[in-house]
Symmetry: C2
Subunit: 126 residues, 2 copies
């Protein structure tokens, strides 16, 4: 059986479903934060440290979106100094395997892609 039937999952509804997920994970940071939270429950500051290069603003925004979509839980502890912890929900954890599939593909093929890209550039822009 050809792959054609399978790709109907992607093309299915005109791409609305696949784009729904792409809209969620395709920003610059989401997948990185989800992968980091796979270690377990983490505080805001810990995430800020462990995700290199992210700004406070983007960390906050991304976490809010993840919470909104039910992929991450946010628990505020009534203490001073304040302590806020983030953790993956069941839905959030379920994103890990397909994300790993993508990461695996990336690790395997990105070098070849980069090479092809460089070759293309030198062909068109001598």
């Amino acid at each position: 059986m050809s792959d054609y039937e399978h790709t109907c999952m992607i093309r299915g509804d005109g791409g609305r479903t696949i784009r729904a997920i792409l809209d969620r994970i395709c920003n610059k940071w989401t997948l990185l934060i989800v992968a980091t939270l796979d270690q377990g429950r983490l505080r805001f500051g810990d995430l800020h440290q462990q995700v290199p290069g992210i700004s406070q603003r983007m960390l906050t925004l991304t976490l809010r979106n993840l919470e909104r979509d039910g992929l991450v839980s946010r628990t505020v502890h009534a203490e001073v100094p304040p302590r806020v912890e983030y953790a993956l929900t069941a839905t959030g954890k379920s994103l890990i395997p397909p994300a790993l599939a993508l990461a695996g593909w990336a690790i395997e093929h990105v070098p070849h892609i980069e090479a092809s890209r460089t070759a293309y550039e030198s062909r068109t822009a001598p």
Copy 2:
């Protein structure tokens, strides 16, 4: 063994590898075009029809990028009227399985995500 080791694939180099691939497939159309081309060799016009809502400009740009990255081959036939055909390369085809993993996740979880999102909105914006 925990999932922690696995997620190192994503977090690995500070997210550079995973972002390299996200930069490629996370635009609005790439994955849809790749999935459509999985049917086999297609002409520009056919793609234009089969990918609903895409503009000529975006189809051209996306195909160029895919060609540049070695995921799609472009063959021009010296005829009148001109005929240009696009097809997936081996690398391009290899993207299908992980893409399907993502699509499967989307189909399974997007309804729940939408629900969570709606609930969140009604909670914060009465």
